[in-house]
Symmetry: C2
Subunit: 385 residues, 2 copies
């Protein structure tokens, strides 16, 4: 019996490996202050070379000085990581400022939050009418800046007057109800690069596929979608009763999760990885009311995704999703990266830590799937060695 077991082990030890190049996580929240210190180094730990950094600090990032300062501080914490910076779309931005930022190359895009839908979004915009920002979108289109959309309509579910009129907006239809605004933006700015961030519904996946279906061969992607790691795993059932899984947009139904998995694993060039990793201290997740929205996945970002690709026998498409598609959309040639170390995905069981940070202090973050065993791990290789 022992011999048989050891034979099996020997067979199993032919570990599978995949070179993923320089993976990009095109939607990360690295916060500021001590939280920034804690999570920024975990970008690389999680197998990510390029991080597209969200601007929803307090106050939001809306000036050239602040975005440069923020980037500098991030690079000090993680010198081998390439940080792509963004502005926060709000009335403080002007077309002139955006033009100048584009010319200086300090930002790659601008993030648009509907007011009030998620963490630090109170200064966001009204997605029912983007027209006030059209002069900015003109400048962005001209300068190849990317518009990153948090694609949800603000909730009206507690507006009782609407109950008998049109369907109120609630957490489950907030994203589908946003899609007409995406389509209109694309019609009005056909060359503006737009990303519908952290898609959670089949409707959103279908809308982005539909827009891309009219692209001619060789034409670059203008409207893309990011998909997170955690939305490949969870549904609304996993959110209710588990604040650790609560984020905006909330995870939806099994049919939606399946659409996300199909899109991510398809290899199609307009779907790519953006983890939306959004750390909160444990105290803000272990509450009976007012839990903060956000799931932290950064320290195992690629490993989580690999888990799902493996389950659906699509590991051959993983590099497209986590590296190639996003880098192509953002025009990230190798000479724009701080470091050309590559990630190797290795079949190797390891446990997700229960916490990162220092136990006994306030600065404790619980990762997604704490203490669960993942089958895939990452290691960095230097191809010039």
């Amino acid at each position: 019996m022992k011999r048989f077991l050891s034979t099996t082990t020997a067979k199993m030890s032919t570990t599978r490996k995949f070179n993923l190049g320089c993976p990009a996580d095109l939607h990360v929240h690295l916060r500021d202050g001590k939280m920034m210190d804690l999570v920024t180094p975990t970008v690389r730990e999680g197998g990510v070379s390029v991080a597209y950094v969200m601007p929803n600090l307090v106050p939001p990032v809306t000036t050239i000085e602040r975005v440069m300062d923020y980037k500098e501080r991030l690079e000090k914490l993680a010198p081998k990581t390439t940080f792509l910076m963004t502005f926060y779309l709000c009335k403080e931005l002007t077309p002139e400022l955006v033009e100048k930022a584009a010319e200086l190359g300090v930002i790659h895009g601008i993030k648009c939050y509907p007011a009030g839908v998620t963490t630090n979004s109170s200064k966001g915009v009204d997605p029912n009418d983007f027209s006030a920002f059209y002069p900015i979108f003109e400048v962005m289109q001209k300068n190849s800046l990317v518009l990153n959309l948090h694609g949800e309509k603000p909730s009206t579910h507690n507006n009782h007057k609407q109950e008998h009129d049109e369907e109120p907006i609630h957490i489950l239809n907030a994203e589908p109800k946003f899609l007409p605004a995406l389509i209109k933006l694309h019609q009005d700015f056909p060359k503006l690069k737009i990303v519908l961030e952290h898609c959670t519904t089949k409707a959103a996946i279908d809308a982005v596929r539909q827009i891309n279906s009219t692209r001619t061969s060789g034409e670059p992607v203008t409207v893309a979608a990011t998909i997170t790691a955690h939305h490949l795993f969870i549904t609304i059932d996993d959110v209710c009763g588990n604040p650790i899984n609560f984020c905006k947009p909330v995870a939806k139904l099994p049919i939606d999760r399946r659409a996300l998995i199909d899109a991510a694993t398809s290899g199609e060039d307009y779907y790519f990885f953006g983890s939306d990793s959004a750390p909160h201290i444990l105290n803000n997740k272990s509450r009976n009311m007012g839990v903060c929205a956000g799931v932290y996945v950064q320290n195992n970002a690629i490993a989580y995704v690999a888990e799902v690709f493996d389950k659906y026998n699509k590991l051959d498409n993983l590099k497209k999703f986590v590296t190639d598609n996003g880098k192509k959309f953002y025009n990230l040639a190798d000479d724009k990266l701080k470091c050309l170390d590559e990630v190797e995905l290795v079949e190797r069981k390891h446990e997700v830590p229960e916490f990162i940070g220092e136990l006994g202090t306030d600065l404790i973050v619980q990762p997604f799937k704490p203490k669960e065993v993942l089958s895939w791990d990452v290691q960095w290789t230097n191809k010039f060695n």
Copy 2:
């Protein structure tokens, strides 16, 4: 200005009052041990005279001895409250035992939990096949015992195999998917009294209305529905991020809430109040994972409901919902009540306590809508005084 204000105050002080008779809460969880000691007296504080007590203790209540002992302990804690007792449907019950319990008059009904759907339901039944319990239902029908259904199919949302086959069961469709089982039970036992407990969906409300639409005038209700207080207020948006509002079945969409409000305020005799008040210690609600399902409303049960009826100008129908319909369905003549004190609903602002129990101990329960101000309050009157 001051004079004007005091005139207004004088006008406002013509407080409205409504006599509600002896209200019945036909679905309560009073637990056991110290929690039972804490919450049982709050049944009366909340304006409830008759409480229909759920049997999901650990172990569940399945014997005549235990149900009598439980009732005795409850009566000691609240001598003026009438407790109607139930068995827990599971394979430990036999037709003979149920017949004996009915003859002794120690139970009014039997609660059926699908296995695994809520707190202490691991011993529940498979709602895909009730046939094993048909001999018990025969005895119940004969003896006018009520079958109280937790109307949800167990979840299959994480069974990936089903994703491309039939629609998986998740927290949002679990109740609608149960309705065919309700209809079949009613067809197979047309005289068995059945309550679809704590309805949360328009589909459930419509199904019960449909069943009753074929009743001839004067024919008693056989299939009824209870509606909670909290489901008249909240939707899924209020549950995600607020574990205090997490219960099973979870609150659904605005259109569902509106159907519940319309049903409750309609005065129709097959809809009545069952709060499903389900206390948990605060520690079990303030968690980042594995939050306990249940909302505690008992200490203001009637006041919460009154709030909604007032908002929709339906206070004239409140007594039907909280008193008359339920008492009629359960054949509760006055001589079956322990006390004939009546409840007066009074327009009087008061704040929901943040907690009940003893701060600094484990035994702390947070009520629904903590620290919010309610416009209606209850007071007891003795009509023989």
